[in-house]
Symmetry: C2
Subunit: 147 residues, 2 copies
């Protein structure tokens, strides 16, 4: 099923409307490759239709999250970012603290252990956030040179 279709059904379910703006914002969002902030997306949307306001972009990103089409990524720099979720496998993020490079990572065993860890404390795990911070290969080499 297409993302537009998923969104449509989500909206219908909630008695919300598929509007021209929402369609446009989803469309532009789907064309993005990396993690976009609401502001990033607003700037992209403006190019296509400058009459669309940034409040609507914020609102629509929230909806896309709820609909399972986008997921929030919080690298801790004070700006929320969104990435595609639909049809994407869950993954976490590995971030280089020097150059900011971001790698999507996944380890099924970690996922499993998280589940177990939660269960051990009487919790049913619904969600998690994991961010690994380090220094990437490139920056490691550069550091050696300049030292």
């Amino acid at each position: 099923m297409s993302e537009q279709k998923v969104f449509q059904e989500f909206l219908a379910e909630k008695n919300l409307r598929m509007t021209y703006q929402r369609k446009t914002i989803l469309d532009v969002f789907l064309k993005t490759k990396t993690h976009v902030s609401p502001e990033d997306l607003y700037n992209l949307v403006k190019k296509r239709d400058s009459s669309i306001g940034q409040a609507t972009v914020y609102r629509t990103l929230k909806l896309l999250s709820e609909a399972g089409l986008a997921s929030e990524v919080d690298f801790g720099d004070g700006v929320m970012r969104y990435e595609h979720k639909y049809g994407q496998r869950h993954h976490d993020h590995l971030v280089c603290e020097v150059c900011g490079k971001k790698v999507e990572v996944f380890d099924p065993l970690i996922e499993e252990l998280q589940e177990k860890l939660a269960k051990k404390h009487g919790f049913i795990l619904t969600n998690h956030k994991m961010y690994l911070y380090g220094i990437c290969n490139k920056c490691k080499r550069l550091q050696k040179k300049t030292r």
Copy 2:
């Protein structure tokens, strides 16, 4: 070594000064039990000396973080929180999405796998954030009742 001593040495190292305000703020911070926001701490500090300003509390918390005495905890609700770090074992957090209950958790195997995962991608791991979200035992039972 006492926390005051650690702070003192950290400041000396950086050519910064141990002032009455910093001493007081550290002292009050050490008396806290859970995760405090800068505002929480500011309110506590005010009780002891109402002349200390909140900018100084913000500034000092930053320093305590750098000194390894406090660590930042970001539950994603838009407020930074700080917890004791000195002499505490590293741990992650398990949060109940219903009642907000927070449990400190630790799994050495997960830690190890995180290291490996980073290495696999050519990174040297320096740090990580892991937050597990779920529903705690209590809230689970309540949900069943009301259904």
